[in-house]
């Protein structure tokens, strides 16, 4: 029997593990786990174990290993393929326990039964009496966790052994000693492979075992709660239970067993990797840091490709697009297995070519275009113009095509749409019915009004009756510079129109296309949004500007169960990736290098959202009232000046403040409250006491403000995780309390400073508190006792205060270097950033070095190895400074100075640079 036959006939893992075969042998008979990727999904999934099987089969790794033959034994006694296939089928089979669903709830819980069986050796005959275990569920869980931890460690060790063995083998191969080294080396290598495969199998089994245990426990919990057997559940109960389980899978199993386990493995790999091994770990960490600094949307593009198996970029404007077009595209391409020749934009290219190749196709496409947009006033001349642009683009602008590809949304990738968060929401919401609602009839004689920002709006309340928002009649909608006229109320179907989409994608922005809402706000008479929507939809291609608009639209759109908080928060997320317009430091109070998904960034987003919503009176200052936007499809839009306004289908509603701090309601110009009379209430005041009674406690506890709490509870906002509330411990010092808080909330920034810098920062906060006791609600520090509570929200929750202190400490560190202006200027020209703490820290180390030492290191690392120069902080040997390009310039300067050997040996770089002019 060939190896292929063996693989083709291999048993499911559960059977394999139940068998009496030694683990190594088992793996020989079964394809290595990592090779399953080459199998079809059905084949891969076909081998999935049921949890019962898994639990029954999971046994301590040591037991499995004890039964395993050594690699040599395996080779010596290697069974024939027939033996391998026959053997497992000859072992005593256990009847699988009934499915969980069949177990009556009043009997022993399935997990207990399963675990009892799991303690049985796989070779135990069924009729052997197995003593009942009296372990508690916690003990069982701990046991399974222990098995998993051990098998995980074994796996990583086996992986490392395999790597070493492979390296060794390659070394010998490199020496062309194959024929001599073949036997011992290859055997060693083969053994390492088998050990690795066994370890992988054990690990997967243990992981599945624990996950299944937790899963079954969850099911037991559900049926226990319902007091029924699973099969007795009504349809509604079953649906609810299924939903709960699905939630459980997503929220508990996925993060722990897929993400968490992968992270654990990587962490272990790095930990056990020999530190002297050529800087692999260092490079890996550097590469990982680089990845984390990639634009969030680029990373989402890659991730979406991984999960959906389809490429669809998820750009969020030009900035995100640019990043996605390089890293995101490249890795996404790899993740779906297309070659460079079938790159991301392949589908787009095909579309473009299909529509541009011949005149006949052009004519047909034009006809199609006309049909699709056969609204009375559709401007065919405009489409014609756009169409010609496509041809020109095809002939002359390869680069433009690349941009088109990068910006293309292949809307048929619905899965991706469903994944990319608000970007996908963009398609669904932007062109859905919610975006093109039937307008409410415009009552006669309705006056025009203005919103709080002075934006024009038609508010036409019926006298004494209802107030409605009415769009302008179609005839009045005229683009700023003429051209395409798209009716606001009746949108043309945005269905498949490759011509239109390609035209729009390929063209320059039409003269009459207003890509962004004007700074002063939106007016119903502007045609920018309808135009944009006209080009959106399945198969449509959008320019980066359009994509950006769509992303903003989607971000601003309120979805079920959401409110203003989420809409504004999402728009700010987009801004986070547009540092050119919204500087991280200046706008968000973040370090420029901060990754978009870091804790600090999330916190900054939360803080900014709160700040804006308070300023705009969506949340009042005392936290007693929260304004909820109740209707799905409404947009809560954030304009360039951070004003918030509500709109629907491009028409802003009136947000009329009646109080300084409390947003009361929405009123039309006549004073009629729109919220009371619109078909459905669009805005509703939510007394905090009703929706979030805990908020009062929150204020007292100081974990979050009442407002934040209310917002979180009423709209499911992810809780602001950082709590600044501290219980004073025994034997505390105030300075320690501050330092602990800094570490807890700003540890990632603190680590950029040396010990002196950290002391300095702590001192700065200490001094600030002494000067501003109100930031901790006037707590008397002199009488503070252990057990009492301090609310640090006013200090560590205020980004301005925090940033100022960090900035001050950076300045202090720089001053401490005692650099002359010329020196600073010179080093800055080399690339040192005097405002970036790690650079300042590095400068401190470098400047203290002797010139000779520096040049020796430079020579050794750069000249000889062509690599990076690194230095260890003399005060902390765990800190290594990498200088990169800057060191070359510095070294050149030092070498060109032609110092004597004696000077080089005794003079520090700082001493030398003092004299630089």
């Amino acid at each position: 029997m060939s190896a292929e036959d063996i693989l083709a006939n291999s048993m499911p893992a559960s059977e394999v593990l139940r068998s009496s075969m030694p683990a190594d042998e088992v793996r020989r008979a079964s394809p290595p786990f990592e090779n399953k990727g080459t199998l079809s999904p059905e084949e891969v999934l076909g081998s999935s174990m049921k949890p019962e099987d898994v639990l029954r089969s999971s046994m301590p790794a040591e037991e499995l290993r004890a039964q395993s033959m050594s690699a040599e034994d395996v080779l010596e006694h290697s069974a024939s393929a027939e033996d391998i296939l026959r053997a497992p089928r000859e072992v005593v089979r256990e009847e699988p326990p009934p499915p969980v669903a069949e177990l009556p709830i009043d009997t022993k819980p399935p997990t207990e039964q399963i675990l009892a069986e799991s303690s049985r050796s796989p070779v135990q005959p069924e009729n052997e009496v197995v003593p009942e275990r009296a372990s508690t569920p916690e003990e069982k869980l701990a046991k399974l966790e222990g098995v998993l931890a051990e098998s995980r460690a074994n796996y990583v060790r086996a992986e490392e052994d395999y790597r070493k063995s492979k390296k060794e083998l390659n070394k010998f191969r490199g020496l062309n000693l194959n024929k001599f080294a073949a036997s011992p080396r290859n055997e060693e290598y083969d053994a390492a492979i088998r050990r690795r495969e066994t370890a992988i199998a054990e690990y997967q089994s243990a992981k599945q075992g624990l996950a299944s245990h937790i899963w079954v426990e969850k099911k037991v919990e559900i049926v226990t709660r319902l007091g029924k057997r699973w099969e007795d559940l009504s349809d509604d109960e079953r649906t609810a239970a299924d939903g709960e389980l699905a939630e459980f899978k997503a929220r508990e199993i996925f993060p722990r067993f897929i993400i968490g386990e992968a992270s654990e493995l990587e962490k272990l790999k790095v930990e056990i990797h020999p530190s002297q091994d050529g800087g692999i770990v260092k490079s890996w960490k550097n590469g990982l840091n680089w990845y984390l600094k990639q634009n969030k949307w680029a990373r989402l593009a890659f991730s979406s490709a991984v999960i959906t198996g389809a490429i669809a970029l998820t750009p969020a404007g030009a900035v995100g697009l640019a990043a996605a077009s390089a890293f995101g595209q490249r890795f996404a391409r790899g993740a779906v297995g297309v070659t460079a020749g079938q790159a991301v934009g392949a589908g787009v290219e095909k579309l473009l070519k299909a529509t541009m190749k011949t005149e006949q196709k052009t004519a047909a496409a034009m006809e199609n275009l006309q049909q699709k947009f056969s609204v009375g006033d559709f401007d065919v001349a405009y489409a014609d113009r756009e169409y010609r642009r496509i041809a020109e683009a095809e002939k002359s602008a390869k680069r433009k095509q690349l941009i088109i590809k990068a910006g293309a949304m292949i809307a048929s990738g619905v899965g991706v749409s469903a994944l990319s968060g608000h970007l996908l929401g963009s398609h669904k919401t932007a062109v859905s019915a919610a975006d093109h609602p039937e307008p409410a009839p415009a009552p006669p004689g309705a006056p025009s009004g203005h919103d709080v920002a002075g934006r024009a709006i038609d508010i036409k309340p019926k006298v004494g009756a209802e107030a409605v928002i009415s769009p302008k009649p179609t005839a009045e909608i005229v683009p700023p510079s003429g051209g395409l006229k798209i009716p606001v109320v009746e949108q043309p179907s945005p269905s498949n129109s490759p011509v239109a989409s390609a035209a729009e994608a390929a063209s320059e922005k039409p003269a009459d296309y207003v890509s962004k809402a004007p700074a002063g706000g939106l007016k119903p008479t502007e045609a920018w949004r309808p135009q944009e929507d006209a080009f959106a939809g399945k198969g449509m291609l959008l320019t980066p500007e359009q994509l950006h608009e769509k992303a903003l639209d989607a971000a601003a759109t309120v979805k079920p169960g959401e409110g203003a908080w989420q809409a504004v928060h999402r728009q700010l997320e987009l801004r986070l990736d547009d540092p050119a317009k919204y500087p991280r430091k200046g706008y968000f109070g973040l370090m420029p290098e901060e990754p978009s998904d870091s804790v600090a960034a999330k916190h900054a987003l939360d803080v900014k959202t709160l700040e804006i919503l308070k300023k705009e009176h969506f949340i009042d200052n005392d936290g007693s009232t929260l304004v909820g936007i109740k209707n799905e499809g409404f947009r809560v839009r954030l304009d360039d000046n951070d004003h918030v306004f509500v709109e629907k289908a491009g028409m802003p509603a009136v947000l009329d403040k009646s109080g300084t701090y409390t947003f009361k309601n929405v009123h039309g110009a006549s004073g009629a409250a729109i919220g009371e009379t619109a078909p459905a209430p669009i805005i509703e005041n939510i007394p905090v006491a009703e929706v979030a009674p805990e908020s009062a406690a929150a204020v007292i506890e100081g974990s979050t403000t009442a407002t934040e709490h209310a917002a979180n509870i009423s709209h499911g906002v992810p809780s602001i995780s950082e709590t600044f509330f501290v219980k004073v411990p025994e034997n505390f010092t105030f300075r320690n309390l501050i330092y602990e808080q800094l570490q807890k909330h700003y540890g990632d920034r603190l680590v950029e400073f040396d010990q002196y810098g950290r002391d300095r920062i702590t001192g700065l906060f200490e001094r600030y508190l002494a000067d501003h006791p109100e930031t901790i609600r006037g707590t008397d520090l002199s009488t503070l006792k252990p057990g009492e509570k301090i609310d640090f929200t006013g200090l560590f929750g205020d980004q301005n205060i925090v940033n100022e202190r960090f900035h001050e400490a950076t300045k202090w560190m720089l001053e401490r270097l005692d650099m002359g202006a010329n020196e600073l200027k010179l080093l800055s020209s080399f690339g040192f950033n005097a405002e970036y703490p790690p650079d300042v820290h590095a400068l401190g180390i470098i400047r203290g070095m002797k010139i000779g030492d520096f040049l020796d290191r430079f020579h050794e690392n750069h000249i000889q190895n062509g690599g990076l120069v690194s230095f260890t902080d003399p005060d902390n040997d765990s800190v290594t400074v990498l200088l990169g390009r800057r060191h070359i310039k510095l070294a050149e300067l030092l070498r060109n100075a032609n110092l004597s050997p004696a000077d080089r040996d005794k003079m520090t770089i700082a001493e030398f640079l003092k004299d630089v002019h």
Binding site: P51, K249, K282, G287, Q294, I307, L419
Partner: protein, 101 residues
């Protein structure tokens, strides 16, 4: 027969049950996991000089294009590695989730 590489496993992982923000977080975590695995293999394929060069490139590069160009030059089978790690991640994840019955 569809290859798991091109299979949408959104539902298998339960991501369709998550809120938008949670889903994005989950996606970012998934991307990181796969990237970490790819990177681990990539840095081991580089020789000492290559890794130093990689570090320098990371330190000095002005754009991700430069990094990618470097990787593509030094690791010709980068696509294959990404594909393998993606496949492995998807296979393992789906197997685990579908094993929960």
């Amino acid at each position: 027969m569809p290859d798991i590489l091109n299979q949408d496993i959104t539902k298998d992982l339960g991501l369709d049950r998550l809120s938008e923000a949670e889903r994005n977080e989950a996606l970012l975590a998934i991307g990181r996991v796969v990237y970490e695995a790819v990177l681990w293999r990539v840095v081991q394929l580089l020789d000492d000089a290559g890794r130093l060069e990689f570090d320098v490139a990371l330190e000095q590069a002005k754009s991700d294009e430069e990094i990618l160009k470097f990787l593509e030059t030094r690791v010709p089978n980068l696509d294959e590695i990404i594909k393998e790690e993606t496949t492995r991640f998807k296979s393992e994840s789906v197997q685990l989730m579908r094993g929960l019955v």
